[in-house]
Symmetry: C2
Subunit: 370 residues, 2 copies
């Protein structure tokens, strides 16, 4: 459904997915006077604790989806792995933002790559592959090493593996579960940055400054805002993100990951991937920007004007708390400008994101003094 007037205060926003992103979306909705209804198959979803209503059902349960659609004024999602058929099903009865079409494009790496290359937006060279033999053949074209990634359902390094030589092809194909995939040329990048951008229903956009993302074990560990890159490159990164959301007639927040490539001193950008949702690399905005990404997303889907993406401190660093790192929160955030966010997950497991800390800093030496 495309009609979407301004959501009245007190209206209910439906959110597919009950993880930490859904939880932080629900809290942003509450700050703006809205109720949230979370739909998630997991009865232990962290977002349930801060929502006015909950549905525990499979994403494919059309009866449950219909009840959900009837109970809410707009539907959004916290992650791109919601079945696209469910999004299209819901959209017959209630506006779904971002649109199911954007979800369809972004949840499949091959579709995403084609979308980008058709529009002349730089991304790593790739081939679609659907067998070990195809992996081996594609490797001839792309130069080893290359990265084999499932087309769907990958995150935090899951569903991907590096292929060093043609005789790795069989093993790599098994490693990713023999799922339809792409083989992607390794981009020799200097750093990974991302642009989190919001677009509202009038077409207005608001891009946060590009940030620098540092990974450990394929999981985002630290985001530094702003990214230490030249201003012209930062503007180019924001312009690329704007072009993507405009082309898709996108409504909501999107995270666009990019590589900064350094060819003999000449810097350029290549898209790594797009996430049609609020993004881990935007968590710093909860404390470090005038309007945070979660509120920005709610504003966009509710028909409110976007807030300002300006930073409210010169430097902000976000650190994910992974596994048992969240156990001693008293020691973690001791300085003025250290802001704790925990997700209320019952069980800490290795590699599981349990929370994050935002550190606002006002001076070059990292002190917190305003």
């Amino acid at each position: 459904m495309t009609s979407n007037p301004l959501l009245e205060p007190g209206a209910t926003i439906g959110i597919l997915g009950g993880g930490q992103l859904g939880r932080m979306l629900a809290m942003a909705a509450a700050r703006l006077g809205y109720r949230s209804h979370i739909f998630c198959p997991d009865p232990d979803s962290p977002a349930f604790d801060v929502a006015a209503a909950q549905t525990v059902a499979a994403y494919e349960d059309t009866a449950a989806l219909d009840d959900f659609a009837a109970a809410v004024s707009v539907v959004t999602y916290e992650f791109e792995n919601v079945p696209v058929d469910s999004a299209f099903h819901l959209d017959r009865n209630v506006p779904v933002r971002p649109s199911p079409a954007a979800l369809y494009m972004a949840q499949d790496r091959r579709n995403e790559k084609i979308f980008l290359t058709d529009r002349g937006i730089a991304a790593a060279a790739f081939s679609a592959v659907d067998s070990a033999k195809a992996v081996s053949a594609a490797l001839d074209k792309l130069d080893a090493p290359a990265i084999l990634k499932t087309r769907r359902l990958g995150y935090d390094g899951k569903g991907q593996t590096t292929v060093h030589a043609a005789n790795d092809a069989e093993g790599a194909w098994r490693t990713i579960g023999e799922a339809r995939a792409i083989l992607e040329r390794v981009v020799p990048f200097e750093r990974e940055i991302s642009v989190v951008i919001a677009r509202d229903q009038t077409g207005a956009t608001a891009a946060y400054p590009p940030v620098w993302n540092i990974h450990e074990n394929h999981i985002l560990k630290t985001t530094r805002a702003p990214a230490p890159i030249p201003d012209t490159l930062a503007k180019e990164a924001q312009a690329i993100a704007s072009r993507i959301v405009e082309t898709l007639d996108y409504v909501g927040v999107m995270g666009v990951e990019m590589f900064v490539v350094n060819r003999e001193g000449e810097l350029s950008l290549a898209i790594n991937e797009m996430a049609p949702r609020v993004h881990n690399s935007g968590h710093w905005t909860l404390d470090g920007a005038a309007t945070d990404q979660f509120e920005q997303h709610i504003r966009a889907i509710a028909g409110l004007p976007l807030g300002s993406p300006e930073m409210i401190a010169p430097r902000v660093e976000m650190t994910n708390l992974i596994g048992d790192e969240a156990n001693d929160i008293t020691a973690l955030a001791s300085e003025a400008g250290d802001c704790i966010h925990l997700y209320g997950k019952a069980e800490s497991r290795p590699g599981r994101k349990m929370g994050h800390i935002n550190r606002l800093r006002w001076s070059e030496d990292g002190s917190a003094k305003v």
Copy 2:
């Protein structure tokens, strides 16, 4: 109960009262990884929408209180009009923070006045009165005009009226519902300020800078941080607030309202009243301080160390949205650094606090640029 170890992440905090203060406490608890259980007689409580569990029952319902105590790890309250007997009842089975004794003192204006004057802390002169005749007699001692205030259950100018002369006594007594009251000398103050202060279980305190409160129709309209007062007076205000919470062995956040009295250029302070809870004049901290008052309160009652009360912008202004002022939120918060907070109340009524806006400002001319 006095035992109160560090609350583990995922533990449940019980909150008596389901209004906007309970709502913002519940959201702060969620950010720290805790669950909230709200106890409130009103089935339409705004705090219910962001809490993991809800009890709708009268505060005097001891069976419901016992179930509540069994379901939570610590109990706190959002307002001082919780029946003190209920707080003492709960405290037999679960820690109640701030203590029922602090609640007992602060919920009765006469007790509060005696507490302050016994400790030599300046407050307006007063007499306890329990009849129209007593009002008339007290007026002789205090000089007209004086303010007649019910000892209990007053807020936002409710339960009080001005007595201009002895022959007003009968009418004034009826106006306040013939309830036990105090008659208070009018303090010719220059401005009202307040100090919001937190104290944790180790006795550490963190006072926010004093702020200037501007009322309209007896309701707080605007708070400006910091208050435009000399630094020595600001420090004195914080010292008085510290002394109060230390004397009470208080755990949690308290709001202390004070008058700035100007006697021929000499500035001094007189306590207006104390609120044993998070305070409307502390709402600016949600966006304008390193740690906001709601998180500070949760940290204190959960056994976490306090966060920093430092301002993160040089100037912050909080404006309450009262009655239908919240209807057009798109127009209200248009500049970078304007942060909207709505309470999700179903019905807007004249005089009802529906939300507030925090405006962060970095320059003298009021611009929002960082």
